[in-house]
Symmetry: C2
Subunit: 346 residues, 2 copies
């Protein structure tokens, strides 16, 4: 019989609330014969304040035993900026070699967008997750003086770029439009830019059916608001991917519905799924958060583990729920979770 | 009697067309007693193809003699990506220490925006122009092999950050709302992020009337489409500034109306003014380009040289011209230039 052994990290702020709903929907959608085991981990601000720990080697060993990880959100105003981001989130992405950071954007019917007209938005960003300016390379000299110099080193390897580019080509190949756009800034960041561009062009030869395209990251932000329909699959570096996926989320219904997967395609380590939004301390504990992004992240998780039919049922349920919201009174986090659970079970 | 000794660099593609109109309007707006001298320089793709030169020491010596520089656009598909950008544009910004890269965004009445509703947009981005990931530091080893490693080093100095932050505070102080937002990614790029944040907080003490705010660059792209009215003055690093000002231009009427100044505030070197758009090879030579961004760059240039009344007349003329476009047939580049010349003279 089948089973899913899931690590659950609710984290901080609304992370707690939305993960509860994600699990509710997960239980509702899974067939009887699939045994779901979950173990909750207390990572985040509370544990950091109590113990000074963000993510220990023992934690990593323990997390490694799971089939996948569901994360709510990490971050709290009480913790200095960077401590939990570098010490937990990025540490985990790097330790588990989550080099494919998958962020789909689809504007669903009935969902509000800040864009005028009725733009068609249906693309996926494949963001590199283990290199670029995110490596923590760099440093500071003469800290706090008027002669301080701080550097950040973006590290890009042929190995790291090629595997994510290849993954993106395969995803483009599998979609009806078969189009892949490389987003970089190769006219300024010429060292990294040439590497990315050359690898992209080389791998393209193996995918003759995929139409390719290159856009500078600054221009990409323009197209995301003036012509988002031009995008099908985008592949880009860690930092550019961070920036354009927040914008992509904003134009395709907001971060309330933006899901993401931190994927280790080889399966050597468990992949992690999380909403794009943060812990939103301003609305935490009030039952106001929309759990849809987490629920959609559960769909990505199921798809990754091979439960395609269940993933599709969740996508469908969220789409219907969103389409029927107009004109109705706002519901609480758990009311939305309940409604989605009913839909996916039905 | 007063005089302006202007270096004119039309450059490539539509650069030629829009600069001609910028000069037309400049001549029309200047009072009789101001002597305008211009010298045209042939930098860009043509000269590079003919001579292999992008910008020589002799060129820099010659440009240095001018009061200011008006640039159209540089770049052509025939030249490999990066050659003219690094070899001309960035070389000039660095050589002339253009550390304040000024990019105002104002959505004028009657101007189309891709955003729904009627957003209020009126902010200025102060982008650092001589540091960050733009320094060209970094390199490549094992180029072209499967073991290639390419690095890009973002260099940030207390000196460089403080002067641009101070400039931004002064600009915020001079505006009615007196609000300054720092945009960075200090939770991930912690070395540079701490330097920027600490310097920002330190300088803030000297400007008690200015309200301050911090936003991560990814979140900033969300606000730029969901709540652009929250911004008054933004200060940010070279790369983040590049990205968010293209997005800012897109939401506030498009790059057809986005002007910029590469400013050396001390006046040791001439400042350079240019539209945010590029050379647009696809529409070059057809008289289709909108010269408004260049004309507004001329206004920034005049303001920088102390011709405030003339700058205001240009801003006004462009605003009126834009407001009266709706429903009228499209005009050519020179027709728009002619119309603006008449308006500013009147
Ligand atoms: C919180 C932060 C470290 C993270 C990132 O920059 O990757 C977040 O913005 C994201 O996009 O998942
Ligand atoms: C052409 C390029 C070097 C330049 C930049 O990145 O600064 C452009 O995008 C700009 O914003 O002026």
């Amino acid at each position: 019989s089948r089973s899913i052994n899931l690590a659950v990290i609710p984290g901080d702020g609304i992370g707690q609330e939305v993960v509860a709903e994600g699990l509710k929907v997960l239980s509702a959608v899974l067939p009887q014969d699939v045994k779901l085991e979950t173990r909750e981990y207390d990572f985040g601000a509370k544990r950091y304040r109590a113990t000074g720990e963000t993510l220990t080697d023992a934690d990593l060993d323990s997390l490694k035993q799971h089939d996948a990880i569901l994360l709510g959100a990490i971050g709290d105003p009480s913790v200095p900026s960077g401590v939990l981001e570098r010490g937990f989130l990025l540490k985990l992405r790097f330790a588990f070699d989550h080099h494919v950071n998958l962020r789909p954007s689809k504007l669903l019917p009935g969902v509000a967008t800040p864009l005028a007209g009725e733009p068609e938005i249906d693309f996926v960003v494949v963001r590199e997750g283990t290199e670029g300016p995110y490596t923590g390379n760099g440093g500071t000299i003469r800290k706090g003086t008027e002669h301080e110099v701080a550097t950040e080193v973006s590290v890009n390897t042929a190995f790291g770029v090629e595997r994510v580019v290849r993954d993106a080509f395969a995803r483009a190949q599998a979609r009806p439009r078969k189009k892949l756009t490389l987003v970089h800034k190769n006219n300024v960041l010429t060292f990294a830019g040439h590497l990315w561009t050359n690898v992209f062009n080389k791998v393209a030869e193996e995918f003759p059916e995929v139409t390719t395209d290159y856009i500078h990251v600054d221009a990409a932000t323009i197209y995301l608001v003036t012509d988002p329909a031009r995008f099908d699959v985008i592949v880009t570096d860690n930092l550019f991917g961070d920036i354009i996926t927040d914008l992509a989320a904003a134009v395709s219904g907001g971060i309330g519905v933006a899901a993401s997967g931190n994927i280790n395609p080889s399966g050597e380590y468990p992949s992690m799924f999380e909403p794009v939004h943060g812990s939103a301390p301003d609305i935490a504990g009030q039952g106001k958060a929309d759990p849809s992004a987490t629920v959609l992240s559960v769909a990505l998780l199921l798809r990754h583990l091979g439960y395609e039919a269940e993933a599709a049922r969740i996508d469908e349920a969220v789409a219907t729920d969103l389409a029927e919201r107009t004109g109705k009174p706002a519901r609480s986090t758990s009311e939305i979770g309940d409604a989605l659970s009913v839909r996916v079970a039905g």
